[in-house]
Symmetry: C2
Subunit: 315 residues, 2 copies
């Protein structure tokens, strides 16, 4: 594995063709925005490029693919975007892939195995890196590329809210906004709530518990709750940010029951508490203020494990 520079990334992309771009499982706005922006850009340079997405593209992101059609070719160069760890590469994404040529990411904890690697953890979103690459490649921006980049930088920063935002994030937004319907993108990602989501939030607020003298807040969803409200992943989005927003909370934990007796845990932290370190105890990881892991067990057991861990961690 070789750590390379941004201009080396640009060179590799210009030298190769027939790209397969890998995104991570539970695909979010940043990996999808990166994937499609890069694919559209490579196509503009006369190359072939497809984006591999684990499972179905979340319906809210269909605006990213309105001009996208899968191309028919055998992949010759494999690029991952925004994928921090091998476990985040879904089976369907890895079909026919035996190695990764180039890994582009912004997670400081990146543990992917790739021939060449460019990781910049000062970038708020991987889309910032993609944008800088496209500038080096002199790609002419269009609506599809702009929508991908704007989606990446805005979703990974909670619409320029989170502390990972930088002046560069804003400068990139200013550059791409004129080319895409960012108002609609904001509406989809940050504003409009379905009534189903509203119902889910109201239910989730009722599960909120405070521990460690109010420094830890924990909420959960169960399969039964989802069934009662006929809710799916769409209604779950953003829930993870609820607990850490309460005054005094340093560790905000969201537990989501998944089929098979496992809970998917999202941890969000304030005041310099390291969420990635907290999650590593349970085999997870991520960013310093936003990480995740999975824990097997029933609701009470998993909650107790987390609350105990949070209380110990906060001491």
């Amino acid at each position: 594995m070789k750590q390379i520079t941004l201009s080396e990334v640009a060179s590799l992309l210009s030298q190769h063709d027939d790209f397969k771009i890998l995104t991570h499982s539970y695909p979010d706005g940043d990996c999808l925005g990166c994937g499609y922006a890069l694919a559209f850009a490579l196509r503009k340079l006369g190359k072939r490029a497809n984006v591999a997405v684990d499972g179905k593209l979340p319906s809210k992101f269909t605006y990213l693919v309105k001009n996208y059609e899968e191309q028919d070719f055998t992949p010759a160069y494999i690029v991952s975007v925004d994928v921090a760890a091998p476990a985040l590469l879904g089976e369907s994404v890895m079909e026919g892939v035996d190695h990764i040529d180039l890994c582009i990411d912004h997670h400081g904890t990146n543990s992917l195995d790739a021939d060449c690697k460019y990781v910049d953890d000062t970038a708020a979103a991987a889309a910032e890196i993609i944008w800088e690459i496209l500038e080096l490649l002199h790609v002419e921006i269009d609506e599809d590329i702009a929508a991908g980049i704007y989606t990446g930088v805005s979703t990974d920063t909670g619409c320029f809210l989170y502390t990972n935002t930088t002046p560069q994030t804003h400068r990139i937004a200013a550059q791409v906004m004129p080319y895409c319907n960012w108002q609609e993108i904001n509406n989809i990602n940050f504003v409009i709530k379905t009534r189903a989501k509203l119902r889910m939030e109201r239910l989730v607020y009722k599960t909120m518990e405070f521990h460690a003298a109010g420094q830890c807040a924990i909420i959960y969803t169960t399969l039964a709750m989802c069934e009662a409200l006929k809710s799916g992943d769409d209604e779950m989005e953003g829930l993870a940010n609820i607990p850490r927003r309460i005054e005094g909370v340093k560790i905000g934990i969201t537990m989501r029951e998944k089929p098979g007796g496992v809970f998917k845990i999202s941890v969000r932290t304030n005041d310099g508490i390291n969420a990635a370190e907290f999650c590593r105890q349970f085999g997870g990881g991520g960013h310093p203020a936003a990480s995740g892991c999975s824990i097997e067990g029933d609701l009470g057991t998993v909650k107790k494990i987390l609350v105990d861990a949070a209380e110990a961690y906060l001491q």
Copy 2:
């Protein structure tokens, strides 16, 4: 009254001294951010300047005045910032003021009487205009000025979310961020919720009604609710954005009972519905997507007036 250019505004400010800067009642982040940024800047230019605020400075904005002390002088030049209408000038603010020399604003509906006026309704926040003036005046940016400008541009755009945001808003944010603790400013204005606010929101969600086939959502707070939760204005903030965020809602109305049998109404709209026009029927006004008015009456009467008006307006 004379409409003047931005460079004429800058000239007037350099030519005069002993400024009183007027902000609007129910002061928000934009008028306060403008007021203090301008005052600090004028002081840097060797002038005297005070900011007049109606009532007490909301406690969340105390970070704007940590280096501010009232200066002792007789005002010689009166400047209003972000004040759209005469009715928005509180009595205490107007003490000793018999006319306004210069009005700087970004409300297209501006109806203030002033000797000179600069209104740019393409600016997302009045703070954008102030920033452009400070650039013309070659004021060296510092933390106080940056905090004011960042507060103005971020709060008036809901942290770069609302459709009034422009590339210029982002460019200004990128320029001022390095000089101020914008993370803390975001935390204060957009992230942290007190438990009291959480309780208020949960109560308010219970009041939500849908009308006009789901195109109008209306919520309310009453004095009794505030008393039961011991809530004040701090807990009210942001409530106005709740109804219009629900899928399908075109007119979102928030009613807040005030002492004296009057409701303060906030109207937020989607899909090009004109909130200012809607509010003008009741003697109010504001921005196309965010306006307000006051209506006297009891809860049921005022709600019926608003729902009837919304249903008529949506037809």
